[in-house]
């Protein structure tokens, strides 16, 4: 989500920068009146489009659950990134200059992810495994990093090895990520098995239920999917509040029950 927002922002800057140059080019090729009419037409359309988007956005905020939940999640993640102390990452990287060890590389990778820089984490995790192979924590984090970088098939190896050596690694997080990796790699049967095992052994968070529901739906088990989505869409207990991430997955589950995808 963050990458898409960044791309949108940069795209807008490019449009702002190239628009005057385009007008200049049009002026000398098509003439002043044509250029002006194009500018006026686009301003008018732009204004109408902006109004339409505003109305759609307003309606979306009211009736499409993932919209407000997504905005809340984006704001939460942005504030979290702005609130995250970068000092642990700098210290971890500084420690590595003095003495290299698997644990220090793991720490640097962890600090990098918390600071919102998964691309910095990746080489540290690889190096940690080189120094100490068969380390469940390092393999778990390497798999997580690969998944975040979009390399689902490559993530399956380290994550399945992690689950083999330490099924409870990360309080079930490694197993959940393995299920997700299988889903992203279109190995739905494996994904369903792993996610079902995760639900039995570690209970169902809204995230895991949502992913399991998506997996069942894609496998063709609509009844099973609806049962899981229903559980994920239950409102919070009175007096408690969902986190931004839980809210996002609950919204996705609600939309999935409408039969309109709700993929997350």
């Amino acid at each position: 989500m963050r990458a898409n927002v960044r791309r949108l922002g940069l795209g807008l800057l490019w449009v702002i920068g190239l628009w005057p140059l385009l007008l200049l080019l049009l002026f000398y090729s098509l003439g002043p009146m044509a250029t002006l009419q194009l500018q006026i037409a686009l301003e008018s359309w732009g204004g109408q489009l902006g109004l339409i988007l505003l109305v759609i956005g307003g309606i979306g905020l009211l009736v499409y659950p993932p919209f407000p939940a997504g905005v809340r999640l984006l704001v939460s993640r942005t504030l979290s990134r702005m609130n995250t102390d970068r000092e642990p990452l700098l210290r971890a990287q500084s420690d590595l200059r003095n003495f290299e060890s698997a644990a220090r590389h793991l720490e640097a990778g962890r600090a990098a992810v918390i600071s919102g820089s998964p691309e910095i984490a990746f080489p540290h995790r690889v190096r940690s495994l080189e120094l100490e192979p068969n380390q469940p924590a390092a393999m778990h984090k390497l798999g997580e990093a690969l998944l975040e970088l979009g390399q689902a098939k490559a993530a399956i190896g380290p994550l399945s090895r992690t689950v083999e050596l330490a099924p409870d690694q990360g309080f079930g997080s490694a197993m959940l990520l393995l299920g997700r990796a299988y889903m992203r790699a279109d190995q739905l049967q494996n994904a369903a098995e792993v996610l079902a095992r995760h639900a039995r052994e570690h209970g169902g968070s809204r995230k895991s239920l949502c992913w399991r529901g998506q997996c069942l739906r894609r496998s063709g088990d609509e009844a099973g999917a609806r049962e899981v989505f229903t559980e994920a869409a239950t409102p919070p207990v009175e007096g408690s509040k969902l986190t931004a991430e839980e809210g996002w997955y609950r919204a996705c589950a609600r939309v999935a029950l409408w039969g309109r995808g709700g993929e997350s």
Partner: protein
């Protein structure tokens, strides 16, 4: 031994050069003489004149002031914030910051104000410097939001807010110059003057540079703005092209709601409403 004022000033030369420039230009332009008025007129930021081959006005306006109060306020802000900012950024970057903020403010004036509206004052550049100071605090803290736990950034933000509010409420103050300068100065520090752990990606720097240059091109060559089209029409030797440019100028003025300005600028009588009142201005 305690450092003398001269030694302190030597470490921040650009700040004091700017202050001296403020005072010098005030001395030159505040006099009630024709020469003083000529000098002042030559330096004002007038979008129409900038696009007519007088680009120096994008910067020169930042050294002129409208009166003693205007001069006094801006000089105090420069003395307050300039030395610390210059020591943090270095003299060369400080010069770049001042120029970019002043130009940013001028571009905002060209985009949002009437092209015939003159603007002067160092406020756009000073807003850019205040924004830059806030940006430096954001970058130097343990995390971004920690900056607002400190009194310095909070005071700066309060000052920026109060001045913007002042600009909205008091006529004759160009808030577009303030906002343009603020955005330019803040973006410059956050995107281009960030190093080490805070350095922006190349794609980000490129996007911001393209946007800035594009807006500068639009300020210098506003091919769809009525005053530029009208000027081209008046100077064209080709009667067919002149007619087309004139029509485009009129159309643009109507679209912008500035038909009255166009007619005033060309000395034509303004259309009269049915009730006998004149339209356009």
């Amino acid at each position: 031994m305690r450092e003398s004022a001269w030694e302190r000033a030597q470490r921040t030369p650009v700040t004091w050069v700017v202050v001296i420039a403020y005072l010098t230009m005030a001395f030159v332009t505040f006099a009630d003489t024709d020469r003083a008025k000529e000098w002042k007129a030559a330096g004002l930021m007038v979008p129409y004149l900038v696009s007519d081959g007088q680009p120096w006005r994008l910067i020169s306006h930042a050294f002129l002031h409208g009166g003693l109060l205007h001069l006094g306020f801006n000089t105090i802000v420069m003395i307050w914030i300039g030395p610390a900012l210059e020591m943090a950024l270095g003299s060369l970057r400080f010069v770049v910051l001042y120029v970019v903020s002043a130009v940013g403010g001028a571009i905002a004036v060209a985009l949002w104000n009437s092209p015939l509206q003159p603007v002067l004052g160092g406020s756009g550049a000073l807003f850019g410097m205040m924004g830059a100071a806030v940006a430096l605090h954001l970058r130097s803290s343990r995390h971004m939001l920690a900056a607002f736990d400190q009194r310095g950034p909070r005071t700066l933000l309060m000052l920026i807010g109060i001045n913007l509010l002042f600009g909205l409420l008091v006529p004759g103050i160009s808030n577009s110059a303030h906002i343009g300068g603020l955005i330019a100065g803040t973006c410059l520090v956050l995107v281009f003057f960030a190093f080490g752990q805070w350095e922006s990606q190349r794609s980000t720097k490129l996007a911001f540079a393209v946007a800035g240059l594009g807006l500068l091109v639009h300020t210098l060559l506003p091919v769809t703005r009525w005053d530029w089209l009208q000027n081209r029409a008046a100077n064209s030797n080709d009667p067919v092209m002149a007619a087309e440019l004139g029509q485009a100028a009129q159309r643009s003025a109507i679209a912008d709601g500035e038909l009255g300005e166009l007619l005033r600028a060309t000395g034509r009588p303004q259309p009269v409403q049915g009730d006998g009142k004149r339209r356009g201005g």
